[in-house]
Symmetry: C2
Subunit: 310 residues, 2 copies
Amino acid sequence: MNEFELIAQWTRSLPGNASVIVGAGDDCAVLDSGQPGRYLLLKTDAVVQGIHFSATAEPEQIGHKALGRCLSDIAAMAGRPIAALITMALPSHFDAAFLQRIYAGMSRLAERHGVAIAGGETTSNPERLLISVCLLGDVAADKCILRSGAKGGDALFVTGELGGSLAGRHLAFEPRLAEARWLAGHFTIHAMIDLSDGLAGDLRHLLRRSNVGAEVLARAIPISRAARLRARAGSSARTPLLAALSDGEDFELLFTVAGRDAVPLLDAWKKQFPKTRLSCIGKITSAPGLKVRDKTGAHSLEAHGYVHFS
Amino acid sequence: MNEFELIAQWTRSLPGNASVIVGAGDDCAVLDSGQPGRYLLLKTDAVVQGIHFSATAEPEQIGHKALGRCLSDIAAMAGRPIAALITMALPSHFDAAFLQRIYAGMSRLAERHGVAIAGGETTSNPERLLISVCLLGDVAADKCILRSGAKGGDALFVTGELGGSLAGRHLAFEPRLAEARWLAGHFTIHAMIDLSDGLAGDLRHLLRRSNVGAEVLARAIPISRAARLRARAGSSARTPLLAALSDGEDFELLFTVAGRDAVPLLDAWKKQFPKTRLSCIGKITSAPGLKVRDKTGAHSLEAHGYVHFS
């Protein structure tokens, strides 16, 4: 067990109370504050200079990414974002105009999704900029989609195209809030997660929480143009398929529905979101394990998204 | 205008929506999620190694302080804390056992106050430990105490004793949650704030939000034993009174009630909280400005808590 797994273990045994419907281990914490028929969603996420963005990133994009990551987690539960608080931990000699542009990027995204930025604080982190976002949302209790509801026989879907996010998308993605709420409003979504760690890693999270397995069809995985271009240019040591499986920061939605809903869902999606790709990439299996099927057969995927074959 | 004041100005013009009852500028954001008769309270606060705690602090105390600061802000609005999320930004080569002890300190405090720790995340901040806490609470809409309700003629009260917090209290204070809820339940509290920046600084915040002034009696200010000892030992260049006015991190409650409620409140407090001092330290004035009265007369206090006389 590595140290991050240790921490994950501790955080599962931290104090609870009657308000906690879902604690650590899903996209957001789900809380019942006593409002009939509704749950609150609470999420916190930080971006750190040199890790989540480089010193050369545009400040508007840094702000966009910091808030967008949390919004994507609210989307993964089909929730409605309400208000965010922003903690700005500023390095020594920070530039006030740069910071104002960070807030501008954040504000544009917030306005598009009707989210308030209701305060926060500034503190010091001498060596590098760190932005921690706390986001409150809510959702109808019967429309809250967890990671844990996938069932054997479900069809597995992913929105958009995967891989190569570092080429730009990770700073400019639009959280799939409208898509997620439409899905939850029109179909019985069994389980959903947003893709931050890469398809293989996040699918594994979903499978573990649901206690099921999956078989993914290699040729059905939607590979982004960025992933293909990077592979062709030799700027990536991985094939486009491996990039799509493991690059991370796609901020797309991965979800499952009963097999019988797969075709009606695809049809309705095409009418509702004609510009956004939706791909059925495989099926959920009652037996645990994650397999990728290509023309040579079905191959097991190693833990942590690392891919055996290539 | 310094850069932090600039930021404060920007954050007042960030996007809002209909859910925001009170945004930036009070102890917590106050939000209406549609639950009749109740408001949500949302607060975020970070502690940073080398700034809010030293490398030699006990890890349990670091955890206690990180959560306690947010709890104190919920107390300042007479709220009930519900659940916290913890962002651990870990330095390179962090010690897993040390981190577990931080969670232990936090958990003990959370359990005492019935707060859940419902998740969070771990990320990297290579040079130093930074802990950001996001705390959700709620409050009856008609019992939510803001900074902005003080009126000319109000009596000004403070709990506990002030100054010298760095000698230990800043790592071990107990948030005044029970006291605040009792106050709001039994008296009409006009305005309240918790003391994090020091009496002079925080009183100024309350006065500015309420658009009033105050006159404080120097001899009525409750000075802590720590502040007196430090002054006597020469370990502080300031008098005990100056320490009580400006040291900060007392995490006591400062509040105002109508003048006629002052004596009944003091009497009832002594019965309810016999071990905790409550001091009437002065009065609110309709005219703006902050004055401290001693035996030589009434003296204006400079901005930012700096004290003219000594």
